[in-house]
């Protein structure tokens, strides 16, 4: 979607804009809840890093982007892919390891990339997407394409060298990149209060002389508003922005992680501020959207997931010759 052009600078998002944000979040939640069920059933190999609870960040940020803008993602990247428009059926087939998957079954959950959608790749290495985002932004700058690149990363990644090198590089080269930190308060099992020397990740922006913004990551409208501001700044040629979104994951680090490192009260506190529930309340109260219409958006998301799973299950695994394919060679279209 091209929310930036629809919602002109400063104007509040329209009813349709918010409905689209709601639908994106509903789709992401349906996808990752379905993934949880499938992992527990043993439908495919690997672990699932779910973003349930964090949907507002992917939805709000990607709504502020153009179709041809770039995104780099993380090991918890299903939401970013869906929000950037990657097909849920191909994504699910990728999780199933099928030849019909986004990456022909060669990448899996942690490595979904779809260059047709500007999705430069989820990443199994914490922080690795940030330097790559700088490179995509360098291409945009040198070719004058006007494209902006968003690098999604977690609170944990803000402690790795690649984060600091990337922020510095983007600042000295004035690259059109928005660094979006999804602070979900835990790097695996380690709380951010333990691992982060600063109070906020966004505080680190000052060291690199770039704007540092903080958004309520459980409020899609706040994320969307701040993301539009950040993207406009980057696209104007003024250089990079660091946007920290304070959010929370309802599941553990992976499906099956009982997450005993946090209290039930804490989880309930965040669930009470659920991004989808709050967006629904806003739509009902501000725009008079009927509960029935919101329910239908949720039902549509579930139907799309039914179709995605059916597509994934009907696909075939890659032939064994694929082991040696695409190690080197010409790129496919």
């Amino acid at each position: 979607m091209s929310g930036e052009t629809r919602a002109a600078a400063g104007a509040p998002p329209s009813r349709d804009d918010v409905l689209r944000l709601y639908a994106t979040m509903a789709l992401i939640r349906a996808f990752d809840q379905r993934v949880a069920t499938l992992v527990l059933k043993g439908a495919f190999s690997g672990v699932g890093h779910l973003c349930v609870g964090q949907e507002a960040v992917a939805a709000g940020v990607c709504a502020a982007l153009r179709d041809d803008d770039y995104v780099t993602s993380t090991h918890r990247g299903h939401g970013h892919c869906l929000a950037k428009g990657v097909d849920p059926g191909e994504m699910m087939a990728e999780l199933f390891g099928k030849a019909t998957g986004t990456c022909h079954g060669k990448g899996g959950s942690m490595h979904i990339a779809d260059f047709r959608r500007g999705m430069l790749g989820a990443n199994g290495i914490v922080g690795a997407g940030l330097p790559i985002a700088c490179g995509a932004a360098l291409t945009a700058k040198l070719t004058d394409s006007g494209r902006v690149t968003v690098a999604f990363f977690g609170d944990g990644a803000s402690n790795i060298g690649a984060f600091h090198e990337s922020l510095n590089l983007a600042a000295v080269w004035k690259l059109p990149v928005v660094f979006v930190c999804e602070n979900n308060r835990y790097g695996e099992a380690t709380p951010v209060e333990y691992a982060l020397s600063a109070e906020h990740v966004a505080d680190r922006a000052a060291s690199y002389r770039m704007p540092g913004l903080i958004a309520d990551g459980q409020d899609v409208l706040d994320v969307y508003g701040k993301a539009r501001e950040a993207v406009a700044h980057a696209r104007s040629g003024a250089g990079p922005v660091l946007l920290e979104c304070e959010t929370y994951r309802y599941f553990g680090h992976f499906v099956g992680d009982p997450a005993r490192y946090r209290s039930a009260e804490e989880v309930e506190w965040y669930r009470a501020r659920d991004c989808i529930i709050r967006c629904a309340e806003y739509l009902r109260e501000r725009h008079g959207v009927a509960v029935k219409q919101l329910d239908e958006i949720g039902a549509e998301a579930e139907r799309r997931l039914d179709a995605a799973v059916a597509f994934a299950e009907s696909g075939t695994a890659p032939g064994l010759a694929a082991i040696l394919e695409d190690v080197y060679g010409e790129a496919r279209a």
Binding site: T102, H104, A128, E325, D326, V327, A331
Partner: protein, 350 residues
């Protein structure tokens, strides 16, 4: 290659870059001091260093700061940026001043550049060239003197070249820049000043193609980068012993030109692999294993290796000199191999 214009290995690198940057506007160069350092404009300089080894002199002046980019000392940051630029339509050439610095940025080469094509199911390619300087002999000790080319060749998705002369430096760098896969171009520091005839017109030497640098009947000496010249000197010395040695110059470590190696060994029946890298799990044992697996029946004796010892590169000049494979060591290995009624006496240098 006799006659014609003579330029150095260093100038061959400059020329390949200049010609490819003129040919293709997508080619950019980035690295630490590849232009010449910050503050150049303030001092009225168009450029200063042109790289720590001066291979890029003149490129900033011709192509400007949009094509020749000085980077902060952030190898992870700018190598990753080169990967990102490569997957979005540019053809970046990044410089890693010393190969020893790979430790601070390996992820972007190993997990990102090398695997992007594979893990995306072929949806993307990474036309990235990494120029790096390898090898001992300049008194810089263990953190600035390693080869490490075997390490890159170990990783699927990377191509690795190690030219032995100015002619092949130009041809292989041109091929690397035109290649759609990430290529690590290993320039040996002691070769940079060596000169020979190099054609002025652009040309690419195929990656994955070795060459027979000297023909001979009795034994095959196999080298790469600096050890090719070590093999050639050994071959000349062996003439006094009545031994006619063939020299195969690998040029590319990945892909490896297995057929040229095997064809030579099948002709001569003997092989000595010479490698300045560390001996364990390295180039020499890799090529020795290839010969053992595929040409065993043609061998008249065991395959021998002459490598650096399994030790960090020492600083002290006599130690450093002893560390590097020498023509004398190669000659001794050949004499041991060709002496009647003697068995293998193990690796030299290991």
């Amino acid at each position: 290659m006799t006659g014609g214009r003579v330029i150095s290995f260093r100038e061959a690198i400059t020329e390949a870059l200049r010609q490819e940057m003129r040919r293709d506007a997508r080619v950019i160069l980035m690295g630490e001091d590849v232009a010449g350092g910050a503050g150049r404009q303030a001092q009225g300089l168009s450029e200063a260093w042109g790289g720590a080894f001066a291979e890029y002199k003149g490129l900033f002046t011709e192509f400007g700061d949009g094509r020749v980019l000085d980077t902060p000392i952030s190898e992870m940051g700018y190598l990753g940026a080169a990967v990102g630029a490569a997957v979005t339509g540019l053809r970046p050439v990044a410089e890693l001043m010393f190969v020893d610095f790979i430790g601070v940025c390996l992820d972007q080469l190993m997990n990102q550049a090398a695997f992007a094509r594979y893990m995306s199911g072929g949806r993307v390619h990474v036309p990235l060239t990494l120029i790096t300087h390898v090898g001992a002999g300049v008194g810089m000790a263990a953190q600035h003197s390693k080869m490490l080319y075997s390490f890159f060749a170990h990783i699927p998705g990377l191509k690795v070249v190690a030219p032995s002369s100015a002619y092949h430096a130009k041809g292989l760098l041109t091929a690397a820049i035109r290649d759609d896969d990430p290529v690590v171009f290993c320039a040996h520091k002691l070769l940079l000043g060596q000169s020979e005839h190099v054609p002025e017109e652009p040309y690419a030497f195929p990656i994955g193609q070795a060459r027979v640098a000297r023909e001979g009947r009795d034994v095959t000496l196999i080298g790469a980068a600096l050890t090719t010249s070590v093999c050639l000197r050994a071959a000349q010395a062996l003439e006094e012993d009545g031994i006619d040695a063939e020299v195969v110059d690998l040029l590319s470590l990945s892909p490896l030109d297995e057929e040229t190696v095997l064809a030579s060994v099948r002709r001569t029946g003997r092989a000595v692999v010479v490698d300045e890298g560390f001996p364990r799990c390295g180039l020499a044992v890799d090529v020795a294993a290839l010969i053992g697996e595929r040409a065993f029946d043609d061998l008249d004796g065991p395959v021998r290796t002459v490598t650096a010892p399994h030790a960090p590169v020492p600083f002290s000049r006599p130690l450093e000199t002893a560390f590097m494979p020498s023509a004398d060591q190669v000659r001794a290995a050949v004499l041991d191999l060709t002496a009647p009624n003697t068995g293998p006496s193990g690796r030299t240098g290991a």
